[in-house]
Symmetry: C2
Subunit: 286 residues, 2 copies
Amino acid sequence: MKRLADCHVAIVGLGLMGGSLAGALRGRCRSVTGVARRAGTVELAAVRGLIDRGTTDPNDAVSEADIVILATPVRVILQQIQNLAWHLADGCLLLDLGSTKTQILEAMDALPSQVEPLGGHPMCGKEFSGIDAADPSLYRGCTFILSPLERTAPTALTLGRELVEAVGATPLILDAARQDRLVATLSHLPYLLACSLVQTADATTSPDPAAWEIVAGGYRDTSRVAGSDVTMMLDILATNRHAILDAVSAFREQLDRMTALIEDEDEGKLKAVLASCQAERRRMFP
Amino acid sequence: MKRLADCHVAIVGLGLMGGSLAGALRGRCRSVTGVARRAGTVELAAVRGLIDRGTTDPNDAVSEADIVILATPVRVILQQIQNLAWHLADGCLLLDLGSTKTQILEAMDALPSQVEPLGGHPMCGKEFSGIDAADPSLYRGCTFILSPLERTAPTALTLGRELVEAVGATPLILDAARQDRLVATLSHLPYLLACSLVQTADATTSPDPAAWEIVAGGYRDTSRVAGSDVTMMLDILATNRHAILDAVSAFREQLDRMTALIEDEDEGKLKAVLASCQAERRRMFP
């Protein structure tokens, strides 16, 4: 398998994640071809210097590529794996950036044997989406999960690692089920909490104009990810449903426990719980 | 009543909020006297240039002050209002920085008539506490709630406004019950959600070492306020119990509704809810 520097890379999807990755890879590989549904997005990516060339035709773009990266919502990735299967070049590395991995890896496993599939999930993002929000430094310092299939050749995984490191991220090898369980709690649950908090404020305090003036850092941070792209999040919720519902149950248990301590005015226990939360939070983010 | 520039100010409590306010007021009034329980804290505040002079004896500090500011946890404020009552100078403006206002204003109402009480609640903070975290720019750009009592003289409220504006904040007049209800949803609820999220991760994903590597922006932001000072938060939960329990109920309803849509795979409705959350979040923080 080639080195990254010798590879033609095609990125399908020029939103926040795909556009940012394109910009980060450009100059570190032979060429970056960007694919988007709308010609205006392709043009914008070119004007912003994120891609070497672009097209709205994925079949055309991927047939010459040594590396194809699918940077679309999870259920679009599932379709694209099927649609693109017979257009990929022999030995092509097919990587995706979807947030859930189990269903994607199942679809990848059905690919023709000359393709080298590799699941990917970069742990970065922003609450704004689209090419306008793209930023080549987005991947710097983030953990980039790689989920190889049994069929993935070691050389393909090595190329995947090289690509991840080239954009400033740190690769972490995880199997699909474990990654889906972890991100359900650490990423998808926070999204549902942020949305439910926004809904709560909307239903209770928002009619009071003062609410808009006193809304402070705590609310701003806790609600931030509610601004995430809806199509992306809908696909995540649909393809990681069980793990997410488990995470919500576990959360509800903790919230109920804490609420009961407040109701019962059990200050001793409440203090112990809050102190352990504080210590844990500070341990995670010193 | 005097102008701020002519006032001796005493600040009781040199933690994050008191220490930051001291530093912001210094030079804008005649003097800033800092009061802390521990001599080491007073020394540190002096070394950092946050105060003109300091003491560990509140009675001594407040007797000469034109403005006394209580910057301690809510239930300590409740005690201090009683303890300091007869040590305050005639015409002294007594302001507090407590996050809940109903009980504090009740206590203030029982003060001798020559004192001018005024409830305060600056909508700023950090997840770190103590004099080490103090920062004179903390108040810049924040909304600073002022809750006058019926007995509060208009001139006292004017001086309170002047003080708030002097540190770069914007005053917002709110009555105690309304402020307590609003902050229950917009500030205290986010704290409980952050803590419950940390507890959930602790109980489910934390044993997996990969959890520490993939924890990303969503979790970091949603859990940030779980790092808040425990004593401060315990006092808030105790003195705003009913409004907070109402906010938790309202939240639980929203989370249940969203979870049901995920369980039922009702994508149409789920999409509508997520889109309205996204729009609302972006409207609040453009």
